[in-house]
């Protein structure tokens, strides 16, 4: 029988197995050695590998990111963790000016094998500064790879690959995806970066979704399937470099693209995907739409937060309208996503 484990357990297993395999791998970050262990993702690692290789850090994102880069230059392979992606704003100088640029500006004479884990929060009132998804900021910068897995299988395989990669890799996690389970082989395996995954094949419309929006889009797809509509759901998995070939091949078939990004739309990843598709299909003929966060700061109170994010019902309605404009749209799931209902705080 296939083993099913949660995404957070898959991440812990990836770290454990890579640390076992390669003594250069270290895990650092605020709280990685405490009793909660980053929602279980780092539990037990310090006991097994020692305080030299697994250590808590002072609250100094800028400096500690620089320390991680220096350690990488010095022959280690650090995995630097951040319990919220919002905190990366404090580390932008080191990530953008150094991590991403060292290989190039030093003419290929160094490498920076660094993994930066960043967790996007949602629900239970995460509010303005615990909910941001900034993957597009980093995808804008040459020299840094950005991965955003949405399944436990991809989380383990991509994290292992990210640790083995000789370049800086931003590994974006979503707090609600942490809870999701899927089949995960117990042995170590690497999922190549830069390859999109077709989660469900379909013929009438392509949904490209990221992060938690993959889960919402899958629910939308299930609803539409019952109504007789055929939706292909693609998870890019890697934001940068982006596997456009898989998306373009899908569009050849469906002619319709709905991007559902786990982020704001303005100058975002959704705009990038559509721009590349437009450039690839110069004759036109493709129908485009995108969904994402409302163009406001994320509110804390639940009733407004619910309006802030796209959900399966609205995704289904938008997709159906694109396929059958003017016709009554199939009724999407009315209930809240179970991972949101289940999620209890305080954090």
């Amino acid at each position: 029988m296939e083993r099913v484990i949660k995404c957070s357990e898959a991440i812990r297993e990836a770290l454990d197995q890579e640390m076992e395999l390669d003594e250069r791998v270290i895990v650092m970050g605020q709280g990685v050695d405490d009793a909660k262990g980053m929602w279980g993702t780092t539990l037990g690692l310090q006991k097994k590998y020692g305080a030299g290789r697994v250590f808590d850090t002072p609250l100094a994102e800028d400096g500690m990111t620089g320390v991680a880069i220096g350690a990488a230059l010095g022959g280690l392979r650090p995995v630097h963790t951040h319990i919220r992606m919002d905190f990366l704003v404090l580390a932008m100088n080191q990530l953008v000016n150094i991590a991403a640029k060292s290989r190039y500006m030093y003419g290929g004479s160094v490498k920076v094998p660094l993994v930066v884990r960043a967790v996007i929060g949602r629900s239970w009132g995460q509010g303005a500064q615990h909910s941001q998804a900034l993957h597009a900021w980093f995808a804008h910068i040459p020299g840094i790879k950005v991965v955003m897995p949405a399944t436990a299988y991809d989380a383990k395989g991509c994290l292992i690959q990210a640790i083995r990669d000789d370049n800086p890799v931003l590994f974006v996690e979503h707090r609600l995806v942490h809870q999701a389970g899927s089949h995960v082989p117990s042995e170590p395996y690497a999922v190549p970066l830069g390859r999109a995954r077709i989660l469900v094949p379909g013929s009438q419309l392509t949904i490209v979704a990221t992060g938690h929006m993959v889960m919402e889009s899958m629910r939308a797809q299930a609803t539409l399937e019952k109504a007789g509509l055929s939706i292909e759901v693609i998870d890019p998995v890697t934001i940068s470099p982006l596997d456009t070939a898989t998306i373009f091949a899908s569009l050849e078939k469906t002619g319709r693209l709905l991007v559902v990004d786990n982020a704001w739309l303005s100058c975002g990843f959704s705009a990038e995907i559509i721009a590349r598709a437009v450039e690839h299909f110069p004759g036109g003929g493709i129908q485009y739409a995108r969904m994402g966060f409302a163009p406001v700061t994320c509110p804390t109170t639940k009733v407004l937060e619910k309006e802030f994010y796209p959900d399966a019902r609205r995704i289904a309605a938008r997709a159906a309208e694109m396929i059958q404009p003017g016709l009554p749209t199939p009724v999407g799931p009315q209930e809240e996503a179970p991972e949101i209902t289940r999620f209890k705080g305080p954090f």
Binding site: G63, G66, V67, L73, L76, V110
Partner: protein
């Protein structure tokens, strides 16, 4: 430190910088240069106390450090010319000198940025049980950045095998150190992190050298570290470019004359045996002309090089 070595190292750096200043108006070096003239005793004094496998990190004003640590002069000059044979294949320029073979691990144009790298590298050396140290070089302006304090704090916490060397040349571009601080005694602040800190006056590379020798020994033999030195020095040229800047009025030429009077090269020139001095000078000139010729003769990168080395 042997006085002839001290002379030779400083004289070599001085002459390289003077040649860069001479060439600069020809527009063969089409990028910013931050000359080290006047500050040579600091990097020479420190680097003469290190061994080849010790590691240094620098700043955009690192010609002196690069050469003092043994960085390849030909590759440096070619880098300034933007040539494919440069130490960063023309992609870094004067502000991003690097020579991994000689453990010059890079220089950044963003002030204070390399300080945590030096700490992280030192942490890696300690974890790998390597019998070597790291020296982080930065200016006094860098000590105003938050990352400086974050780096000191973590280095102290982990007893990292690192020496911090602040080259205090009194000015951040055109702004005086004393005008930017209520309390100008830098070492006091560093003491607060539990790090031994000492100020070396008057551009004294020999005293600094003796202290670095002691600190390095304390790190490697007794597990000490980190250590901090504030080395008082003075930049002779403008912040960026080959000229002087007395006309701007932010500092006085008499201040410069006072510092120039303390230039160790003056005393060393008088003291050295004239025959030895003539031989050293001739060697230096020959090496520099060779490096310039190498840079001039080297090819520029091919256009396809634009896309190379984005990723390892």
């Amino acid at each position: 430190m042997d006085r002839s070595v001290y002379y030779r190292q400083m004289r070599r750096i001085r002459r390289v910088e003077e040649e860069i200043a001479r060439i600069y108006p020809s527009d063969k070096i089409m990028s910013p240069v931050h000359l080290s003239i006047g500050q040579e005793p600091i990097s020479v004094g420190v680097c003469q106390a290190l061994d080849a496998n010790d590691v240094v990190f620098g700043t955009y004003r690192s010609h002196s450090l690069y050469l003092a640590k043994g960085g390849d002069l030909r590759e440096m000059m070619a880098e300034l010319y933007g040539k494919a044979t440069g130490c960063a294949r023309g992609k870094g320029g004067s502000m991003h000198l690097i020579d991994v073979k000689h453990n010059v691990m890079g220089a950044s144009a963003v002030v204070a940025t390399t300080i945590p790298h030096a700490v992280g590298y030192a942490y890696a050396l300690k974890l790998r049980k390597s019998p070597h140290i790291v020296v982080s070089f930065f200016g006094e302006g860098a000590t105003e950045e938050g990352v400086f304090y974050e780096s000191l704090q973590f280095a102290a916490l982990k007893k990292a095998p690192i020496i911090f060397v602040c080259e205090n040349n009194l000015y951040a571009i055109h702004s005086a150190w004393a005008d930017r601080h209520a309390h100008i005694h830098l070492c006091d602040r560093v003491h607060g992190f539990g790090i031994p800190a000492q100020r070396i006056e008057d551009n004294d590379g020999e005293e600094l050298h003796a202290e670095i020798v002691k600190a390095r020994r304390a790190i490697l033999e007794q597990g000490g570290g980190p250590f901090f030195f504030e080395a008082m020095t003075y930049r002779w040229n403008e912040h960026v470019g080959p000229g002087t800047d007395w006309h701007l009025g932010y500092r006085d030429e008499t201040e410069f004359e006072a510092w120039r009077g303390k230039d160790p090269l003056i005393a060393l020139s008088r003291e050295l045996d004239p025959g030895l001095k003539a031989r050293l000078d001739a060697e230096i000139e020959e090496e520099i002309q060779d490096a310039i010729a190498y840079a001039e003769a080297s090819p520029f990168p091919a256009p396809s090089e634009l896309y190379a080395e984005v990723f390892a």
